[in-house]
Amino acid sequence: MIEHVIRWLQTTRGSGVILILLLLGLWQFSALYIMDTPTWPPVTRIFTAWYENVADGTLVKHLLATFWRQMLGYFLAVALGISVGVAIGYYRILYNLLEPLIEVFRPIPGPAYLPVLVLFVGIGHEMKVVLIMVASLFPILLNTYGGVRAIDPVQFDTARTLGLTTLQTLREVVLPAASPQILTGMRISLAISLILAILSEMIVSNDGLGYFTLLAERTFKVPDMYAGIFTLALFGYVLNRLFLIGESRLIRWHQESSGRG
């Protein structure tokens, strides 16, 4: 019996799920019987608020607004980051030209671009998209660069003996060879893009989950605020999961071969 329990604890994450349920129970109990204050509503009331906001379409609307601007900024960063990363990984001249510039901009935390962007791009949709893009750019760019630089010379030699042109080598060798690192950068940036989307919505916006959550807090609809945060947690989780599924499809060869070695 005890062995079975230990085995279950070792082989599944069921205990983690139980812990979450226990914490929610504790929350419910404390809100009902210990801390009777509007800032700490019972979980049941949060779920009711969540359900109402989903049912009347409010949360769906704000979720889609966040999703849309996040994806726009993110994929712009992916396109730019991979292109520049491959280019500077490939051509030493471009690396020497751009690397100092990248080093200057890279340490600036993403949110610090916001005031400048407000001055130049305004407070609309474009500003948020550009902010998300700028903040998501560097992890993708630098990981792509690292991935391209780490390609073994034998692989370039092989491409040459097979008579591949530069573009064919890029497609058949460079991008697939660097794809594990590129995807690592893309996963880091996916989280960053959500953070920046929410942040920009909290500062200047009239839609999106960031806007919804902050507005709920400011209008004392505390259950709505928690509902917004729960939605964000779920949204972030699903995004990451989908990314991992896509990643393992794309680079199964890498995961399998390194898992064996």
Binding site: V154, Q155, R160, T161, G163, L164, T165, E172, P176, W253
Partner: protein, 263 residues
């Protein structure tokens, strides 16, 4: 020096004051000949092959194919690398690896290209593994993929850089016999770099022995053993044993001379 494939007074120094890999190396390879390049480690035999393939440039001298200077990889010559785990692209299936060498240069349909690649896989005994990924294959099988990919391009010459040195003994023996069979059937010319004297003797018609670093030609040796060769019979012929002893002594002399010079 005229000939089919010739290496003419080739030298390679890695940087202006850097190590000299090989110095004033000359030899010629006849059409359809099987030649092995042996020498103590660090004598620049792999560097030499890399230059012969047009993958890097010599500091002095030239490699000529039918009198024409080789300055970049040529379709008539295919290079087989020692590091098959890198040279066989792990993200492609076996079939796609073989297709890669032919799909951009032929105007055939995808189907015809795949058929040609499958035929080539059949020749090296991998017909059943076309849809596998390299990580699912043994080292010997991966090197067979490399050979199939090279042959799919219908080269005249194979340049092989210690292709079997990372394999275990049984697989090495199997691939040696496969290579000899392909060489005879397809009328290939093979330049085979190895540090294994037995492998060189078993495979080649002629052996070029390079001296210790910087490598230059110490001796060129005929191997008058008949084909088809046999892993057991060939290796116990008196000529084989005699040549082996001779080569062994010669290479030991080279190593000792190299050390004396370094000291």
């Amino acid at each position: 020096m005229a000939g089919y494939l010739s290496v003419e007074r080739l030298s390679k120094q890695f940087s202006a004051y850097g190590r000299v890999a090989c110095k004033d190396v000359s030899f010629a390879v006849g059409e359809k000949e099987f030649i092995a390049l042996v020498g103590p480690s660090g004598c620049g035999k792999s560097t030499l092959l890399h230059i012969a393939a047009g993958l890097s440039a010599p500091t002095a001298g030239a490699v000529r194919l039918r009198g024409e200077r080789v300055t970049e990889p040529r379709p008539e010559m295919m290079y087989v690398f020692q590091q098959y785990t890198k040279s066989i692209f792990p993200w492609k299936t076996v079939l796609d690896n073989v297709c890669l060498g032919i799909k951009y240069r032929s105007h055939s349909s995808r189907k015809e290209i795949e058929a040609a690649a499958r035929a080539q896989l059949h020749v090296v005994g991998l017909a059943a593994y076309a849809d596998y990924h390299p990580y699912q294959l043994s080292g010997g099988m991966q090197q067979r993929v490399a050979i199939a990919r090279a042959l799919a391009r219908r080269p005249e010459i194979l340049l092989m850089d210690e292709p079997f040195s990372a394999l275990d003994a049984m697989m090495r023996v199997e691939l040696q016999d496969l290579l000899l069979e392909l060489w005879r059937e397809l009328g290939l010319t093979v330049v085979f770099v190895t540090h294994d004297l037995d492998e060189a003797l078993y495979l080649a018609q002629r052996i070029v022995l390079l001296s210790a670093s910087p490598g230059s030609v110490a001796e060129i040796l005929d191997v008058p053993l008949p084909y088809p060769r046999n892993q057991v019979e060939t290796r116990r012929q008196p000529i084989y044993l005699e040549l082996r002893a001779h080569l062994y002594n010669a290479i030991v002399r080279q190593v000792l001379a190299g050390r004396a010079e370094a000291a």
